[in-house]
């Protein structure tokens, strides 16, 4: 029943989510096993916020990888439970009770981050890759090109992405979730572009870039081989940081009912619908709030710890 109820985009999100989770899980194991990265993890662990961040992320990965196995119900079934048509109280069968459609709330909480994680992860990667490439290439272009592009970027950065998202949603009513990726990805990449460009400017001024130019390398070669590797730290931190902000952006869009299609579970949607319930049914309100905030805080703190571990100051980056 569940499979065909999924809107196509959500079905895709589900697959990507599993990819992301598996990748994160493998990365996590890899980080612990491979020596240099273990050293990096150790350095992140040394800062208290890095420690909190890593713990939160690890908890999230464990919950999302193993959670669905441990819960007997799927998040879509509306149970017929005799007299009680909805809001079945917590108990053995439903540890967090049932929600307003009598669905197992725990199952929904456990799978409520999928769309958000999948979509924002894709968006973050898109935003970072194209923001970073554009930022690096700009520094290698003639100065007037840089000037013109940066003014355009300045202008675009002041445009609210939500307006564009709304427009796209209306134009392509079916596309939804994944129109978030190119649109928000584009707007977030502008901020990335600025940060990476600022860093790349200092790299391009260094003699090894001049040396590569004097040898006769093409600009694209220089961008990839000389500049990009030296912006890696900045890009890594940007990725982690933008991801948290994208999660928040997704939550905003989702809260307004623009992202995940009902009846798919989503933390932000759950919060939106249960925000009036937090006195009468606190157990329906707090779990998605805690899940969403721990994920955001987890990634954010890890980014913080990462930045400190590789000696970058995150305050330099600006928020969209």
């Amino acid at each position: 029943m569940m499979a065909f109820l999924d809107p196509i985009s959500y079905y895709l999100a589900d697959k990507i989510y599993y990819l992301v989770c598996t990748a994160m899980f493998i990365t996590m194991v890899g980080l612990v096993v491979i020596k240099p990265s273990r050293r990096l993890l150790g350095r992140i662990w040394r800062h208290w916020n890095g420690r909190v961040g890593l713990c939160f992320i690890a908890a999230h990965i464990l919950i999302s990888v193993f959670g669905p196995w441990l819960i007997p119900h799927d998040p879509y079934t509306q149970f017929d439970l005799g007299e009680i048509a909805r809001y079945y109280p917590p108990g053995l069968e439903f540890p967090l009770g049932t929600d307003d459609r009598n669905r197992d709330f725990l199952a929904r909480v456990v799978s409520g981050g999928r769309a958000a994680i999948a979509v924002t992860c894709l968006t973050a990667i898109l935003a970072i890759s194209w923001g970073a490439f554009a930022g690096i290439f700009l520094t290698l272009m003639p100065r007037w090109v840089d000037g013109v592009v940066m003014r355009i970027v300045d202008a675009l950065i002041s445009v609210p992405w939500l307006a564009f998202l709304l427009l796209a949603m209306t134009l392509f009513a079916g596309a939804r979730g994944f129109s978030f990726v190119p649109i928000v990805g584009f707007f977030y990449s502008l901020a990335v572009l600025r940060v990476v460009r600022a860093h790349a400017t200092t790299i391009v001024a260094l003699d090894y870039v001049t040396a590569a130019r004097a040898r006769g390398h093409r600009i694209s070669w220089i961008a990839f081989h000389e500049v990009l590797p030296n912006c890696r730290d900045v890009i890594l931190v940007e990725l982690a940081m933008r991801w948290t902000w994208l999660l928040l952006a997704f939550a905003v869009a989702s809260f307004f009912g623009l992202m995940v299609e009902i009846p798919a579970p989503d933390w932000s949607l759950m919060i939106a619908s249960s925000r009036t319930l937090f006195l009468s049914y606190p157990y329906l309100f707090w779990p998605p709030v805690i899940m969403l905030s721990t994920l955001v805080i987890g990634i954010n703190f890890t980014a913080d710890g990462l930045a400190k571990a590789i000696g970058l100051d995150r305050r330099a980056a600006d928020m969209v």
Partner: protein, 573 residues
């Protein structure tokens, strides 16, 4: 005024808890009005000592001994690299005002003017309003000294005060310091790797090696006839301004803190070391006219420097630059001529030296040759290349290959993310795209061998190498293309004298074996004298004098050249 007893400074390793000494058992005392010079290679601990005296330990701990001063001493520190020591977003006036406020001075504006005049800064009124980057390097250094003098210090510690300054600026700065000391009576501690300025400014000198004093005494005596083998090697590593001689390098590198040998720290590099040296640490004891920490102090004075061969006759013409000019449009539309009607020529296998102060256009000329800078008039001809007058990206690969460039600072000229192997492979793969793996690896090994590095350097990254090693890698990167012309931009000025000597030696040997021509840009006349065949003197973008090096340096015709040589002589050995 200052009395240091058995001072050891170091840090405790994080995991093992092992204590690592950077300074070990240093004894020192200075009285008011005296000047002490601290010399040594980088890593010898001389800066650490200077900072420890000024009270800046930043993460280090005093493990032994003490620094005794009178109560509440006023000690001021002038940091290395004036450009970075000043707050870039604050006007000079505000920075002075802030320090004076901290020193609780009442008439701050007046005092600020007084200080600015004291360090002989012209037009203090307008300078006060400017930001640090709007000042020249020499001016920045003076502002820094003015800031240090604001508290009427009793002891002034100067860390490498003259690096990045031209010879003539150096000279005036040292004069200024002497005058200030005379009027204010503070004690001075000058930390430098430059024996020249130590000789000019300090009556007493301490030679440091591996965190300890190896010789202490009268500066003239130490330079003319030091008794410690290290002192002697350091002096011999200096290029000679009077004769065309190649300086002697000191083989090997100084030991790192925590990896110092058991006995005398210099023993592994010492030509005269015996068994005893390897087991016991020699104390600093009076020997003849200085104090020396050596079991076998040297007595006789002999020179071991070697002469440099002149290039043979009958070389073919390689490069001709005819009347080129480079113009920049400045803020406000004024035209600034970086190069004005400059012509040079060079035969194969020759070395051309270009000398001039900063801003003379010598780097611009190199950039023109490298195709990184457009020029507005004139022509450049490289024999056998039709596209040499174009920017580098429009030149043919074969032309690009014939000309390679080596930069001043090896730590920024090598990509920190690449291994040494990758750094050397990149140009080879660029110019020999069809080469096989083994050909590449052979070429890399051949070049490593040429610059006297070994296979074990290949997997390392730049940060794991010393400055001298890095510059050798940079040279190898240029040489692997087998260029006809090597452009060398101040390649020794960021290096210790001992390393500089080794690099100069290497250049001469490379030229003999590979046969390429070189253009060497430098502000150091002594360096020029030791390796260049021809010399061009540049000033404000124009050629002042050009000809054979020996001829110009022995019989300079122009007044500017004469003054350059004079101020260079004034501050070198």
């Amino acid at each position: 005024m200052l009395d240091i007893r058995e001072l050891s400074v170091g840090y405790t390793e994080n995991i093992s808890g092992r204590k690592v000494e950077i300074l070990s058992r240093v004894n020192l005392s200075i009285a008011g009005g005296e000047t002490l010079g601290l010399v040594g290679e980088s890593g010898s601990g001389k800066s650490t000592l200077g900072y420890a005296i000024a009270g800046h330990l930043s993460g280090l701990e005093i493990q032994n001994g003490s620094i005794d001063t009178k109560e509440n001493p006023r000690i001021a520190l002038v940091q290395q690299n004036a450009g970075q020591a000043l707050t870039p977003t604050m006007s000079i006036g505000r920075q002075l005002n802030e320090v004076l406020k901290y020193a609780q001075v009442k008439n701050r504006t007046e005092k600020a003017f007084e200080l600015m005049e004291g360090v002989r800064l012209p037009d203090p009124k307008s300078l006060m309003k400017r930001l640090p980057h709007q000042l020249s390097g020499g001016q920045q250094q003076r502002v820094l000294i003015a800031l240090a003098l604001a508290r009427n210090p009793e002891i002034l510690v100067l860390d490498e005060p003259t690096t990045a300054l031209d010879a003539s600026t150096k000279e005036t700065l040292l004069e200024l310091l002497a005058a200030l000391q005379k009027s204010q009576g503070f004690a001075m501690l000058i930390v430098s790797h430059d024996l020249g300025i130590i000789r000019t400014a300090c009556a007493e000198t301490a030679v440091m090696y591996a965190g300890a004093f190896v010789e202490l005494g009268n500066t003239e005596k130490i330079i003319k006839g030091g008794h410690h083998p290290y002192t002697r090697a350091l002096v011999e590593a200096l290029p000679h301004i009077e004769e065309r001689l190649l300086p002697n390098a000191i083989e090997g590198t100084p030991p790192k803190p925590g990896a110092r040998p058991e006995g005398c720290a210099f023993a592994p590099r010492c030509l005269y070391a015996e068994d005893k040296c390897r087991h016991a640490v020699p104390p600093l004891a009076p020997a003849q006219d200085t104090k020396v920490a050596c079991f076998f102090p040297l007595v006789d004075l002999r020179k071991t420097s070697t002469a440099v061969p002149e290039p043979g006759e009958g070389k073919e013409r390689l490069l001709a630059v005819n009347n080129i000019s480079v113009q920049f449009k400045q803020h406000g539309g004024q035209i600034f001529k970086a190069l004005d009607d400059v012509s040079i020529s060079l035969n194969t296998g020759e070395t051309l030296g270009i000398i001039g102060e900063s801003g003379s256009g010598k780097s611009t000329l190199l950039r023109c040759l490298a195709g990184l800078q457009n020029y507005s008039a004139g022509e450049m001809i490289l024999e056998g290349a039709e596209d040499f007058d174009r920017p580098v990206e429009k030149r043919k690969r074969a032309t690009q290959r014939r000309l390679q460039m080596v930069f001043q600072n090896p730590s920024t000229a090598l990509n920190p993310n690449h291994t040494i192997e990758r750094i050397l492979e990149i140009p080879y793969a660029l110019y020999e795209p069809k080469s096989s793996r083994s050909e590449r690896s052979n070429a890399i090994r051949r070049e490593l061998d040429l610059v006297r590095l070994t296979d074990q350097h290949l997997i390392k990254r730049p940060r794991e190498l010393s400055g001298g090693e890095l510059q050798r890698v940079a040279l190898a990167r240029g040489l692997i293309a087998r260029p006809d012309l090597l452009l060398l931009d101040e390649i020794t000025s960021a290096l210790d004298v001992s390393v500089q000597a080794a690099v100069l030696d290497l250049l001469v040997k490379i030229q003999r074996s590979v046969g390429c021509a070189m253009i060497l840009v430098s502000h150091d006349i002594a360096v020029m004298r030791s390796i260049s065949h021809k010399l061009v003197v540049l000033k404000n973008g124009r050629i002042v004098e050009a000809g054979l090096t020996e001829q110009i340096l022995s019989h300079p015709k122009e007044a500017y050249t004469q003054s350059l040589i004079k101020s260079a002589k004034a501050i070198t050995a």
